[in-house]
């Protein structure tokens, strides 16, 4: 299941895993803003920067490319639609590659950070603004991320069951779609109840504060990112 998931953490010991999740999140957001705000050749150069942490930390680039196959197809379709729309080749390529770079940077974040960690450290940061509700929001993020494999699992299970009873989507397409969706929802709601019971039985408290620390490298990275953003936008 983990192999077909885009948001999953791989346990490893490299420079990326040692940063505070908020620092990584901030850098990813800043990077996405930079890539989205640039055009043409500038965007291509910025997109290539995402390879620095991959090569620097010796991350499995081939594996990332394999898992990003769906996004590569999407990026190619995006670029093609821009070419057909009359944009220049560099401009069209930069849209697709920029999109891939943003996806890739998010992949680096999720691969090097446990979803629980990112949700909790974000909760801690936001709790200074919105109080205890921030931890509930963090828990919500955590549960949402953990729900995605459950959805895939349920959908595949229902598809297998339909295949086993030789049900065809083409005989009554709308009716079949509705029946399929109802089955998936019914299965998901059953799993939601089991999930709720599992959480409840552990006396789970969504509003509990869980601390996460910042180190000097985090402060340096955040400062450097702000400087890059200021320089980029002041030059424009």
């Amino acid at each position: 299941m983990a192999e077909c998931m885009i948001f999953h953490y791989r346990e490893s010991d490299n420079i990326l895993t040692r940063f505070n999740p908020n620092t990584k999140l901030f850098v990813v957001i800043a990077y996405s803003v930079l890539v989205s705000s640039s055009t043409g050749l500038e965007r291509l150069v910025l997109s290539a920067l995402v390879l620095i942490p991959v090569l620097g930390a010796r991350l499995p680039l081939a594996k990332y490319l394999k898992e990003s196959f769906f996004f590569i197809i999407l990026a190619i379709s995006m670029s093609l639609s821009y070419v057909i729309g009359g944009r220049s080749l560099i401009d069209s390529a930069s849209y697709g590659i920029g999109f891939l770079a943003i996806i890739f940077s998010s992949l680096l974040l999720t691969d090097s950070t446990m979803p629980e960690d990112i949700a909790r450290s974000l909760g801690l940061f936001l709790s200074r603004i919105i109080g205890k509700r921030a931890f509930i929001l963090a828990t919500l993020t955590e549960i949402t991320i953990s729900m995605i494999p459950i959805i895939i699992d349920s959908t595949l299970g229902i598809l297998e069951a339909r295949k086993a009873r030789l049900a065809s989507f083409f005989r009554h397409p709308v009716h079949s779609l509705a029946e399929f969706t109802s089955s998936v929802f019914s299965n998901l709601l059953d799993k939601a109840v089991i999930y709720t019971d599992a959480i409840y039985s552990r006396c789970y408290d969504a509003s509990r504060c869980i601390a996460s620390s910042y180190r000097i490298r985090d402060y340096v990275t955040i400062f450097a990112t702000i400087v890059v953003l200021v320089i980029f936008f002041s030059l424009r």
Partner: protein
Amino acid sequence: MERKQILKLVLVALFTALITAGAYIKIPVGPVPVSLCTFFVNLTASCLPLPLALATVLAYLFLGIIGLPVFTSGGGLAALMGPTGGYLVGYIPSALFGALVMKLLGKNIRIASFLSAVVSTAFFYVVGLPWLSLTLDLPLSGTLGAGLFPFIFGDVLKIIVATLVTPSVRSRVTELLECEE
């Protein structure tokens, strides 16, 4: 934390995850791709009570704003401010008014489901089309050509399926929430 509160949290998370999954099932057609997001927003509005439906779309937008690639156009504020941003912001009134229709006409579930899906769908365009026109500087014909006409067939299909699915899902959700009363 009470079990009912956890159940509500899990339901919101489940529907948020469904909208996220819907964003990945897309066909790129011009600046606005066809995706299943709107179908799941329709179902969120028609199957969840109003506060939970609203919480679901807000949670989805929050996940996107903090940078997770949950939107059809990726993630982050840049994606929200892009040409498809209006459709994303439109999820809020869509869920709000769709759920409101269910609350007001809930006794006749079939009609309520149909109207809720229609109202939800209409609000995507009420917010999405002017935004698309402003960001891409398109005339009215261009805006409708890029942001409405390619989606009509898909939206009609989504409305039909949502209308058929809502009664069973809503009754199950209501049953789950009432069990806790």
